[in-house]
Symmetry: C2
Subunit: 542 residues, 2 copies
C-alpha cells in the first residue's frame, strides 16, 4: 500500500503479504501465527499471518471511533464515490482475487468470478441508494402558529457508529471483507473493523487493500476501515466488547452468533447484533406439482443441494411432501442424482469434519433412513452428498431433526397427508427461506401455508430453489430466530443500510443549523414525509 | 362489560370493579390482593384488585397467540376502525377516566383531560397511518426474462406477534393501557397483553374495558387485547418469558427496563425489547442567549422542571452553561422560583420516597451545592423541588452525577469556558432529549455541539423546554442507551409502528397469492419502491 499522497496503483498487487490493515497502514499482526490451508491438499499456504495484538485491536477501534464523526458527516455523494471506487478496484483486481480465493476455498473459478461481480455490484447498488436518499427517512411536521400552535419537528436517520464485521467462510468476497455488511455499514456512515475469516486470510488481505486504496483515493478519514486477523474467538469477543463499537454484523454458525449476541448483551452499553446463523430452508412440494413432475423436481433439487458443496446459508436441508407416487418419483430421481454425485471439496478441514459429524448425528436419529450417499473424493476437506428420509410424525416429534447440517445433506420429510404437512410446517423454527413448488391446483393449499411460512421465514419463493440470493431493493436475507438474531432486518439488499441507522428529531432547530435532507428547500431532492404525505417537493412557507 | 352480541353501552361505566380483561371477558384476578393508594391521603382506594394467577397469565398469552394470525391478516382499514373505536370510547368516557386517574395519581384535572385527548388523538393518528400504508414498506423488483433474467421479488412488512406492554406510572393514559405502545402494536397487527401499572389500576381497568368494548364492536378476534394485574416483578418476568410473546414495550425505571431486557435476551428465542428508561435531558444555555435573558430563562426553566411534579421522562435534570453574569442571573431567578414553589404530590408513596432518596444521594456527591429548595406540602406522597449546582470539572469526573432523579430536581453544571462545556457534553450518556438555548451569535458554537448531541440524544430542541412530546410523524421519543434499550426506534409518533414489524420477501410468488400491497395493480394505492424508484402507480407489465 502506498502513502496517502501517492497515486493508487493501476495494476493489482496479486500476492498477499500476511498483512492486516489498520487505518491507512498495512500492519503485520504482533500476535500468534495463523495458518491458512489448501482445502484440497491440506498444505499450509504462504504467507503466514499473525493475529492482532491487544494494542492493534485497540488502535483499530480508536481510529474507527475518531473517523466516525467526520465520516458520517460526509455527503452521501462522497460516500457513494468511496463505495464505487472500492467496486472499481475489486473489478480491476478480479483475477488476483479469484485466483487466491480459489486456492484458499476450493470454490470453482466461475463461481468466484461471479462473486467478484456480485460484490462490486452490491457496492455500486449501495452507492446508488445513497444518492437516492430514501434511506435518510426524512420527515417534517412543519410548525404552526395561531390558534392551534405546534412545534416544528423534523426527523432524519444518522449512523450508529463503528461497526465490527465478521467475514463469512462460504462467500470469501460477497459476505466477507467487502461484502454486504461492510457495504451497508459504510453506506450508512459507519466506519468498519473487519475480523477476517481465518479460512481465507489471503483473499481478505487483497480485498482489504482495495478498500484501503479506495479510502485513500477518495480522501476518506483514516480509520474508516481496518481489518484484523485473529485465531480463536478471543479477538471477536474483544472487538464486540469494545465500548467504541456500536453494532455488529456476522454471518456464520449458530454457536458463533449466539456467543457474539451474549457478549453484546452483557456490555455496560448493549449494542445491536445482526447475526445470520442457522437455517435449513424447507422446500414444500405440493401434491399437484409433485404429481406432474416429481422426477424433474428431484433432479433439480439435487443440483441446488450440491451447488458449492452445499455451503450456502440457503441450502435446502429439508423437503416436505405428502406420500404417494409423485414423492416416489422425486426421491428416486433425487437418490439417483445424489448417488451419481462426485462429491466436492469443502471450504476447510474443520467445515468438512463438522459436516461429516453433523450428518452422522442426523442420520442416527430415531426413524431416519438413508436414501442415498454420493462419492467422497480424495481431498483433505472432501465431502459427499447425502439424502435422508423420515416420516412426518417423527419430524414433528423430534426438534433435533431441524439441526442445520452445513453442506450437501438434506432430509426428506414424508407426510401422510396435507394435514400432517401443515403440522410439520407449524413445528418449524425460523428460517431464511421457505420454498413452495405448486401448480394452480395447489394454490388453495399454498394459500393456507403462506401465512405460516411468512411467520417462519424471511423469504418465500415459488417454483425455484433457495440457493441464489438476488441483490436488489426488495430482497430479504434474514428471518426469525435462529435464522438470525434480529428478524427486523436483512443482510442482503438496500434495506440492509437501515440496520446501522437510528432516527433523530430536530425541534425548532434554526434553519441554518438543520441537516440538508430536512431543509425547507430540499436541496438533495430526497423523498420525505411532510405532515405524513410522501413527496419530494420544497416546503412552501407555512 | 357486556357479552359480545350485546351493543356497546353508550354511557361510560364510571366505576372500576377490580377486574382485569382476558380476551373478551372481565376476570377477577385469582392471585394476591393488590391495593392502590390515594397519593394525597395515603388511604387505600376501592376496589381491591387481585393479581393474575399463572393460569390467567397463560390464558391471556394463549388467546393473544390464537388471535394473532387472524388479527394480522385483517385489512389495515379494519384495524384502523378498531383504533378509532377505542379513541371514540375513551373520549366518551373521558370524565370517568379523568376523575379516577386524578384520584389515583393526583395529577391535575386539566392535565388529565388533555391526556385523554392525546391518547385518543394518538390512536386516530395510527388509524390514519394504517390507511396511508407507507408503514407496509412495499418494494418490488420486477422479474425479467431475456438476456439478463432475474427473479421477481417483492417485499412488505408483517407483524411480529403478540406484544407485552408495561403501563407507565407517569402517564396513566397516554403511556399506559391504551398508550403509544399499545396503539402502535395494535396498528402493526400485534395482539397486546398489558401489564397494568400498579399505581393506577382503576384507570387501567376503565381503559381496558373501552378497548375490550371497541374490540367487540368492531368484531376483532378474541384475545387481541388483554390486561393483567400483578404485584411485584414476577408477572412481568413470566410474560416476557412466555414463548408466545414476540416483543415488549416498556416505559419505566432503568432497573425495570434492564431486568426485562435481560429476561428477553435469556429466552431460548430472544425477542426485541423497547424499554424507555432513564434520561436527564441536558439543557445547554449558550453564552449570547444567556447574556440576553438569563433571568427569563431561569424562570421558564423552573416551570418546565416543576411541571407535573417533574414526573416526565423528558424532565430537564441537567443544565450546562459557562460561568458569568448571565449564569448568575439564571441561577438567581431559578433559585427564586424553586424557593417559591409550593411543591406537589407525586404519583405514589414509593415514587416520592425514591425521589427524596435520589435527591439526597445526588446532593451528597462531592462538589455539589444546593442552590434552592422548594416547599414540601403535607401529603402522603409529597415532594419539593430542588436545585443543585456543581462545577464542570466535577461533573466530567463523576459519572454518578448523571443519575436520573425522577422528579423536580435539577443540577446546574457551571463550566469555566465553552471548551469545558463541550467536554462535559462529550461525557454525557444517552438521552431522550437535548435542549439548546442559542441566539444567532451562538450558532457557531451550536453547530459544533449539534453533532455531539445527535450522537447522544433522540431529539434535539432549540429555545424551548423538553417536557412536552408532540405526537406526529417526525417525533422521536427514544435515544441511545440508557435512555432506551433500542435507539433504532421511537415510542411516540407514527414511526413507532415499525418496532413491531419485520420485512418478508416474496420471490416469484403467483399473482393470485401475493399480498395486496405488492400486487401489480396496487389496489391499496400505497407508496412503493419499484426497482428503487418511489411511486404509487400500478405496475405496467414488463
Amino acid at each position: 500500500m502506498k502513502p496517502k499522497e501517492a497515486p493508487v496503483p493501476d495494476r493489482p498487487q496479486p500476492h498477499p503479504t500476511g498483512a492486516m490493515v489498520i487505518g491507512t497502514e498495512p500492519a503485520l499482526g504482533a500476535g500468534a501465527r495463523v495458518h491458512v490451508s489448501d482445502p484440497r491438499s491440506g498444505a499450509v499456504l504462504e504467507p503466514v499471518f499473525r493475529a492482532a495484538s491487544d494494542e492493534q485491536i485497540d488502535r483499530a477501534c480508536a481510529l474507527a471511533d475518531r473517523a466516525f464523526p467526520q465520516f458520517r458527516a460526509l455527503s452521501a455523494e462522497r460516500r457513494a464515490r468511496f463505495l464505487e471506487r472500492i467496486a472499481d478496484l475489486l473489478d480491476e483486481r478480479r483475477d488476483a482475487l479469484v485466483e487466491r480465493a480459489h486456492t484458499e476455498t476450493a470454490l470453482p473459478l466461475p463461481r468466484l468470478t461471479g462473486e467478484v461481480g456480485r460484490t462490486s455490484g452490491q457496492l455500486r447498488l449501495f452507492a446508488s441508494e445513497l444518492r437516492a436518499g430514501t434511506w435518510q427517512g426524512a420527515r417534517i411536521d412543519p410548525g404552526r402558529t395561531g390558534d392551534n400552535p405546534r412545534a416544528d419537528i423534523r426527523q432524519r436517520r444518522i449512523a450508529l457508529g463503528p461497526v465490527v464485521v465478521f467475514g463469512a467462510s462460504n462467500f470469501p468476497l460477497a459476505f466477507s471483507t467487502a461484502g454486504g455488511d461492510t457495504a451497508s455499514a459504510l453506506a450508512a456512515g459507519c466506519p468498519v473493523v473487519v475480523k477476517a475469516h481465518p479460512a481465507h486470510l489471503g483473499t481478505a488481505e487483497l480485498v482489504a487493500r482495495a478498500i484501503a486504496d479506495a479510502a485513500a483515493a477518495t480522501e476518506m478519514p483514516e480509520g474508516v476501515f481496518s481489518q484484523l486477523v485473529g485465531s480463536g474467538n478471543e479477538i471477536g469477543a474483544r472487538l464486540v466488547s469494545d465500548p467504541r463499537i456500536r453494532a455488529v454484523g456476522f454471518t456464520g454458525s449458530r454457536a458463533g452468533g449466539l456467543a457474539i449476541a451474549a457478549t453484546a448483551a452483557a456490555r455496560p452499553v448493549p449494542i445491536p447484533v445482526y447475526a445470520e446463523m442457522s437455517s435449513v430452508n424447507p422446500v414444500l412440494l405440493l401434491p399437484a406439482a409433485l404429481a406432474a413432475r416429481g422426477a424433474a423436481l428431484g433432479a433439480a433439487f439435487v443440483e441446488s443441494l450440491t451447488l458449492g458443496a452445499g455451503q450456502f446459508c440457503t441450502n435446502p436441508g429439508l423437503v416436505f411432501a405428502v406420500d404417494g407416487p409423485g414423492l416416489g418419483a422425486f426421491t428416486a430421481a433425487a437418490a439417483d442424482a445424489v448417488a451419481a454425485n462426485a462429491g466436492a471439496v469443502m471450504l476447510s478441514d474443520g467445515i468438512a469434519s463438522h459436516y461429516a459429524d453433523a450428518g452422522t448425528a442426523l442420520a442416527a436419529r430415531d426413524g431416519v433412513a438413508e436414501l442415498a450417499r454420493g462419492a467422497r473424493p480424495d481431498y483433505a476437506a472432501a465431502a459427499g452428498a447425502r439424502l435422508l428420509l423420515v416420516d412426518g410424525a417423527r419430524f414433528i416429534a423430534d426438534p433435533q431433526l431441524q439441526t442445520e447440517v452445513f453442506g450437501a445433506t438434506s432430509l426428506v420429510v414424508r407426510c401422510t397427508d396435507t394435514s400432517e404437512l401443515i403440522t410439520a410446517v407449524r413445528a418449524l423454527e425460523g428460517q431464511l427461506t421457505a420454498t413452495v413448488h405448486a401448480d394452480t391446483a395447489d394454490h388453495p393449499l399454498a394459500a393456507t401455508l403462506l401465512p405460516l411460512l411468512e411467520q417462519r421465514a424471511g423469504r418465500i419463493l415459488f417454483d425455484g430453489w433457495p440457493t441464489g440470493v438476488q441483490v436488489g431493493h426488495a430482497m430479504v436475507h434474514g428471518g426469525p430466530f435462529p435464522a438470525t438474531t434480529d428478524a427486523r432486518s436483512t443482510s442482503v439488499g438496500t434495506l440492509a443500510i437501515e440496520r446501522f441507522l437510528r432516527p433523530v428529531a430536530y425541534q425548532d432547530v434554526p434553519a441554518a443549523l438543520l441537516p440538508a435532507e430536512v431543509c425547507d428547500d430540499n436541496p438533495l431532492g430526497v423523498w420525505r414525509r411532510v405532515d405524513g404525505e410522501v413527496d419530494r417537493d420544497t416546503l412552501s412557507p407555512g
